[in-house]
């Protein structure tokens, strides 16, 4: 049986039996795609397995990569309204060379979308880390900034398109040094409730969850749609 198992794992694109300590949360979109595909197979409706209708992209392998970064706790925060600073890191090594990246969507979940405990307006700054982090340095030197966005909090999940960045990382793994995320609290004089910055940021640190949803197309398994499969 060991032999068959290894063959089956290779067929799945795995080199050994995964032994996850705990199951990651499966986002709604993956469950929906899974159930839509199962329903189509059960009813005999043939679907193009190399096109993800729910996302509008070509691809036959979807991966949700968990964030493997960490928070920075710098004593002298650069700005009084700085709430949190985090390195976001996604391991793309499971993407095989022959696979083509067709989608890379960063999901930043700021916490439940309830309005019972309104938070202050936040400013999100997302920039590329382009130099290795020197230990002892409080935060990595942020490179190219590509998101500066104000969000009312709570806000649920925010999505950002990282396709170009992920393609660059996939082609040049040594460039993958992660992203630098900084969240600031926007001061407003007329803010209804004066938010305790410390509590607000502690709550945000607890609820923040980042993940990268990537879609790849394996050309060996996906013939171009214009050419009928023989």
């Amino acid at each position: 049986f060991q032999f068959q198992e290894r063959v089956f794992l290779q067929f799945l694109g795995l080199d050994k039996v995964p032994s996850p300590q705990k199951f990651q949360p499966v986002p709604y979109i993956l469950k929906k795609i899974f159930h839509d595909q199962e329903a189509a197979a059960t009813t005999g409706v043939s679907r193009d397995l190399c096109y993800v209708k729910e996302l509008g992209v070509r691809g036959n392998i979807l991966r949700l990569l968990p964030d493997q970064g960490f928070f920075f706790y710098s004593k002298n925060l650069p700005q009084v309204s700085s709430c949190l600073q985090k390195l976001l890191y996604f391991n793309l090594s499971s993407v095989k060379d022959k696979e083509q990246l067709t989608m890379a969507q960063l999901g930043l979940d700021l916490g439940p979308n309830t309005y019972y405990n309104l938070g202050p307006e936040l400013e999100l700054v997302l920039s590329l880390v382009q130099e290795p982090h020197v230990w002892g340095q409080s935060i990595p030197k942020p490179g190219k900034m590509f998101v500066l966005q104000s969000v009312l909090w709570p806000q649920g999940v925010l999505h950002f398109n990282l396709l170009d960045v992920a393609r660059d990382w996939s082609n040049n793994p040594q460039k993958n040094l992660g992203l630098f995320l900084e969240i600031l609290v926007k001061e407003h004089r007329d803010s209804v409730a004066n938010f305790q910055l410390g509590d607000t940021c502690a709550r945000l640190r607890c609820t923040l969850h980042a993940s990268l949803l990537i879609v790849t197309l394996n050309p060996k398994q996906c013939y171009h749609s214009s050419r009928e499969r023989r």
Partner: protein
Amino acid sequence: AAIPAPNAPCKNLCHRHQLFINFRDLGWHKWIIAPKGFMANYCHGDCPFSLTTSLNSSNYAFMQAMMHVVDPAIPQAVCIPTKLSPISMLYQDNDDNVILRHYEDMVVDECGCG
């Protein structure tokens, strides 16, 4: 009037047999999130010459069955899948990535002589 063909017992003729693959039986439920298993099924049974025209067979199978009658050293036509469907699998790899992949031709829907 056609001479009634010798009725080989139906259960020996080529047809689809049910086979449910339960991932728990294989110990794979620890990393496969969904499904819990799937109906893979398989094809098995005889392809006698007299029935190749009705057993969802290919022309080739008809010819081979005829050749087998003439020269039994030539093997009979075989019972193979003629319609297959895919499955999708949600699983977790060693980097804690959640992966959704579609695998074609994993479920046997129909069988025939080929």
